[in-house]
Symmetry: C2
Subunit: 232 residues, 2 copies
Amino acid sequence: MKSSEIQEIRSLELFSEMEGHNFDRLMRGAYIQNFPPQIELITEGETSDFLHIVVAGNVELFAAWNRRDTTMAIVRPVSTFILAATIKDAPYLMSARTLEKSRVVLLRSQEVRDIFDIDNAFARSVVNELAQCYRAVVKSSKDIKLRTSIERLANYLLRQNGYTSGTGEFDLKVEKRLLASYLGMTPENLSRAIKSLQPYGVKIDGSHVSIQDISDLETLAKPTPSIDDPYH
Amino acid sequence: MKSSEIQEIRSLELFSEMEGHNFDRLMRGAYIQNFPPQIELITEGETSDFLHIVVAGNVELFAAWNRRDTTMAIVRPVSTFILAATIKDAPYLMSARTLEKSRVVLLRSQEVRDIFDIDNAFARSVVNELAQCYRAVVKSSKDIKLRTSIERLANYLLRQNGYTSGTGEFDLKVEKRLLASYLGMTPENLSRAIKSLQPYGVKIDGSHVSIQDISDLETLAKPTPSIDDPYH
DNA sequence: CGTTCAATTGATCAGCGTCAAACTAGGTGG
DNA sequence: CCACCTAGTTTGACGCTGATCAATTGAACG
């Protein structure tokens, strides 16, 4: 593993507060692997032997039931996933697959739990991270239960705009069919939803988004911190 | 507070492992209050001054946006709610109101955080509880994204049956309109969904449910641990 | 330059929400 | 004890949202 990568991991909130020797111990036992796109890293229902950290590329978390499936989240560098399953030593609730060529660090779940038991700062960080994850899922759940698909799209665009330039010009970082699934609709419907945002000054050409008048779109989207602000 | 209630709280996973004097300290600073039905205990967006524990009655967690609202969860004795907001010292993501006459213990959030910092066993319990909550919301999210309303109802009935007698005979513990909102549909639609389960041997009379043939309903519902098993 | 897969478009349909009205049950007061 | 009120529930009619199916266009890549 490159030392720059180790530094990146260390700088994650989850690992930045723990004792140095515990962090070193975690890293010594770590595996790192490069995966091509479309590789299933973990599978729903299996036991969680490793805590995963995406350091390059990106990973889709998805869930399946009865021949249907849906995108639950998209994980970008540098962040961990399936922390809850690792901590509880419980089966994965979601599957994960690489979307692009990706570089993933694997930490033995058992070792994460061991260090969690002896390093209080790490335990506190885990709690914070978990609380963060919990709140993210609650927001996502509210998004789905309270909004129509067009409203979800509008708010998604506004959020992405906030994360990036803030100028109303940015690129979608995922395929539209994936975005559709994430937003809880079909690709066909996403196409139509995009069209129906045209009167609000939204233009999407390929993966490039331009929002003419942010406040105009906001009157439709009605974003609220308790759904749309990740730091709220 | 009755000592039997203190014992009940102490026996919660969240509090059972912590040091005795820390638990006592938490309890000394605790408030306990009886509320009539339909009282809003906490409001979305406000800061979380107290960790709540329902010791009698029950409490609805709900969220609102743009004149719509939806039931997120129903909390029964004895359990805590809004732990994540307390830990992160962040605004509530959900509101809470009593459904029945209820008895609620309030622990100062600041004190919970203080003790969390000094009591490792408590910290571990908090992590476990949070991981549990996280996984519960993920399951609920999968339920909503992957299933139709009839499938959600069928699986809900099977879960309730499992929690109670297991014989196929039990009572709904909430009003149907509330259940409808929890399951992500309208009361009218729940009525129709119930009817459409008749061919599968489900009869609901008032609040009494009888399932003639569990396995028959299961062929429709297709329950899976990774959505329907709370301990999975 | 053809292959492949995503994205779009149109037509159709099912699921579910909305609205309005009728029906119930539990509680209150005469 | 009964009439009445209120609120939840059910039913029917209707319409909208969004899914499905099929066909076409578009773009990336060997």
